[in-house]
């Protein structure tokens, strides 16, 4: 309906009451604190997060370790909660968690220990597996490594050489070193593993030859026995690790019993952290603090009363916001429009001096999406699923908006689908369900007319909103010249297509002359006033292309209907015996699910586009900053009483 009217709030109170006061703000969820700077006042300084949180709560509990512990437990624990289940957090429960804090901290430490142990096991196993892979090719060496050493007269070498030169390498060994023996022990992917024994007198020649052929000496560390024994030893160590891992996972499973408490602790800490982040924005002296921020004007009395119930040692001021001051934007809309606020938010928030157009945009989005998906059965499915999950999952905030958006768009789709007689593509028509209004496929010209008509209505609405913004700002002449004359010209042009074309002609001419005379009014010289006035008439083509753009309503509706038809045809071609039904049903189900997914994506994208480009383009002024009050955001729990936080 409107952008919520805000007031500037400023509060001075005792530091000892700070947490209590912030808790009240958090529970109400209607005060946004802002960074405060006061220059040149002795003794005022910014508080920092660490000094605020460090004062109590030793050992300090942070949210991060709790969420890590939760992740660990969830990986190894196994208790399914019903979908959308939330813990109820009341005063008693909060006290219980508070008392258990030390114990839960211990649980978190244990979880960390388990996680550390498991990662140690993982890296240990990787290391052992690498060692096994390295030792494996030497398994044929049937002697302890420590004995594969040089003797008095001979040199004993273990090493690898490339497979592709193996033949030449071995031949040159036989030819050049007459006192030598070698043997292929095994192979890796591209190398053979050799044991090579030659007389020490041949050291020099051997060294050159080996170097030429890229022979790599292999040295073994970490074991002295045979490679086979070493591999067996590594395998035993891996088994030990596995046993330890099972042990650690078992421990995690026993700790899983505390997951409910940990989840509640997580939320309690998140709520607290949210509050503490706000304290960073406050200014404080030794005994007092100073908060500045914004709050909705209508909540003034509520805030005063709530704070008065805590302490009277405070100075609270509400101040009107000046004309040129920027303030955060919040929407206030009836419940049916609220889901559609997401569409606007994805584009941009309106600037605070502008208007909240959600209530004007929502019906168009609703209608357009309905036409583009335009299938009663799909709409029914969306509406039912959207409603079910929103309620079942107890969605809040943006999640709930999303859920209700899906549900209401489902209703739109159901309505238009029924009007067009489309149930699962032509599935309804095949069993004789007639369209309530008309079938776009058999009457495409009427359908196109409907699209262009809706487009015209939306474009004219957009112009009216721009005129309203101008009037609100006292720019009456702008409203008359920029929107009024265009109305005259465009409506005149439209009337020229009807029996009263003469009236339309006169309207169009008056409008056009008016535009030529007024559209150059910001220019300096007479000549440029006239030329930019004349050039402005060129915008007629922009309006024309805007209207034509709405033909996408028909095209996308057509796409949904025909894809549905394709799958129905596939199913029908199989005939109607019991056996073919078994094949046809999966085809139909998968096909229609595919159609819902693809077509609703298209409908969403193109409905958005029509709002953003054709509609918002006429009047929207973006760049607003969102109102982000201090509030309660929970993941696992539902806060029952304010006092619980």
């Amino acid at each position: 309906m409107a952008i919520v009217e805000m007031k500037k709030i400023s509060l001075v109170a005792l530091k000892s009451d700070m947490d209590k006061i912030l808790k009240i703000f958090q529970a109400m969820g209607n005060v946004e604190a802002i960074e405060t700077q006061v220059e040149g006042v002795e003794g005022l300084r910014k508080s920092t997060l660490s000094e605020v949180s460090a004062k109590k709560d030793a050992p300090l509990l942070d949210v991060l370790p709790v969420s890590r512990a939760l992740a660990t437990l969830k990986r190894y624990g196994n208790k399914k909660k019903p979908l959308g289940y939330k813990h109820a957090l009341g005063v008693d429960k909060a006290k219980e968690i508070e008392q258990k804090k030390e114990f839960l901290f211990d649980v978190i430490l244990k979880c960390q220990g388990i996680e550390d142990k498991l990662s140690e096991i993982r890296s240990g196993k990787t290391r052992l597996n690498n060692l096994i892979a390295q030792t494996e090719p030497w398994k044929a060496l049937n002697m302890p490594i420590k004995e594969a050493k040089d003797t008095k007269e001979t040199r004993v070498l273990l090493g690898t050489a490339g497979k592709e030169i193996a033949d030449t390498f071995e031949r040159s060994l036989i030819e050049s070193l007459n006192e030598c023996w070698f043997h292929r022990l095994g192979e890796t992917r591209d190398e053979y593993c050799y044991i090579l024994i030659h007389h020490k007198e041949l050291d020099k020649e051997a060294a050159i030859l080996l170097k030429e052929n890229g022979f790599n000496k292999t040295t073994f560390t970490g074991f002295e026995g045979t490679p086979k024994d070493a591999i067996a030893d590594y395998a035993r160590q891996i088994e030990e690790f596995d046993a330890q891992a099972v042990e650690a996972e078992k421990q995690a499973e026993t700790l899983f019993a505390h997951i409910d408490d940990l989840e509640m602790l997580y939320d309690i800490l998140t709520i607290k952290q949210e509050r503490e982040t706000q304290t960073e924005k406050l200014l404080k002296t030794r005994e007092a603090f100073y908060l500045r921020g914004y709050a909705p004007a209508k909540d003034e009395v509520l805030i005063r009363n709530k704070l008065a119930s805590v302490t009277d040692a405070l100075e609270l001021d509400f101040e009107d916001i000046g004309r040129d001051e920027v303030y955060p934007v919040a929407f206030k809309n009836p419940a049916v429009v609220r889901p559609f606020e997401m569409i606007t938010k994805l584009y941009s928030l309106p600037n605070h001096t502008s208007i909240d157009s959600n209530i004007h945009m929502a019906p168009f989005f609703f209608i357009f999406f309905g036409i583009m998906l335009g299938d009663a059965a799909y709409g029914l499915i969306m509406a039912v699923l959207g409603t079910y999950f929103t309620i079942k999952l107890k969605l809040k905030g943006d999640g709930a908006r999303m859920g209700w958006l899906v549900a209401s768009l489902g209703v739109a789709t159901l309505i238009w689908g029924a009007l067009f007689g489309s149930w699962f593509g032509d599935g309804g028509a095949r069993i004789g369900i007639a369209p309530i209004w008309f079938d776009p496929l058999t009457n495409p010209m009427l359908m196109l007319g409907l699209c262009f008509g809706l487009g015209l209505i939306q474009i004219f609405t957009g112009m009216a909103l721009k005129a309203w913004i101008n009037i609100k700002r006292g720019l009456y002449l702008d409203a008359i010249f920029d929107q009024g004359l265009w109305y005259l010209l465009l409506i005149g042009l439209l009337l020229m297509l009807t029996p009263v074309s003469a009236v339309g002609g006169y309207m169009a001419i008056v409008g056009a002359i008016g535009l030529v005379l007024t559209q150059g009014r910001s220019q300096k010289s007479i000549l440029s006033k006239f030329t930019s006035g004349l050039l402005s008439l060129y915008n007629v083509s922009a309006y024309l292309s805007d209207v034509l753009s709405y033909s996408r309503l028909f095209a996308l509706g057509l796409a949904t209907a025909v894809i549905g038809m394709v799958f129905n045809q596939l199913g029908a071609m199989l005939g109607a015996s019991w056996i073919t039904l078994i094949i046809a049903i999966p085809i139909l189900v998968a096909g229609h699910i595919f159609n819902i997914a693809v077509s609703s994506l298209g409908a969403y994208v193109h409905s958005s586009r029509l709002q953003y480009i054709e509609f918002f383009g006429k009047f929207f002024e973006g760049g607003g900053k969102a109102f982000r009050p201090l509030g309660i955001k929970t993941k696992f729990t539902e806060v029952l009483e304010e006092e619980a936080i």
């Binding site: 569409i343 938010k345 996308l556 057509l558 894809i563 994506l601 958005s608 953003y612």
Partner: protein
């Protein structure tokens, strides 16, 4: 088999084939970008997948026109007679979505890829990121309409 029927089927082949090629290339281009972004941040899978899907619609539009030609010529249950002139008209009617589908899907794929880059840096701007590729699609939608009106109203 007569010439008119063959021309009509050529129309089916061109609308489904060309638009399908375009969508395949477009979705491919966007998919490469999406995979890159997801490798850095797997949480962006859903957001980037939506953008990757956008250039896929041209292929569907092509199939749609092809299907309508098949429907009008009653191909699935013994084809009706089609005069050579009518067959040629069906063929030409299929060309807008075939040709525009081919090129717009590729262009849209590039715009999608760029928007996926946008999501990588500013995930909160999903609304804007979707609009850039959607702008390209307008022309495929117009071509679809033109094709539809022709193939639907051709007198066989």
């Amino acid at each position: 088999m007569e010439l008119g029927q063959i021309l009509a089927i050529a129309g089916v082949a061109l609308s489904v084939g060309l638009a399908g090629i375009g969508s395949a290339i477009g979705v491919g281009i966007a998919g490469e970008s999406a995979a890159g972004v997801v490798s850095e941040d797997p949480d962006k899978f859903g957001q980037t997948l939506i953008l990757q899907a956008l250039p896929g619609t041209q292929g569907i539009y092509g199939l749609l026109i092809g299907f309508i030609i098949l429907l009008r010529t009653n191909f699935l249950a013994g084809m009706v007679d089609v005069s050579p002139e009518a067959g040629l008209m069906l063929l030409f009617g299929a060309l807008p979505i075939g040709i525009v589908g081919l090129f717009s899907a590729i262009a849209q794929g590039k715009a999608s890829a760029a928007s996926i880059g946008l999501i990588a840096k500013r995930p909160e701007e999903q609304g804007k990121a979707i609009i850039f590729p959607a702008m390209v699609e307008t022309y495929a939608v117009l071509a679809l309409l033109a094709s539809f009106l022709v193939v639907w109203f051709v007198r066989l």
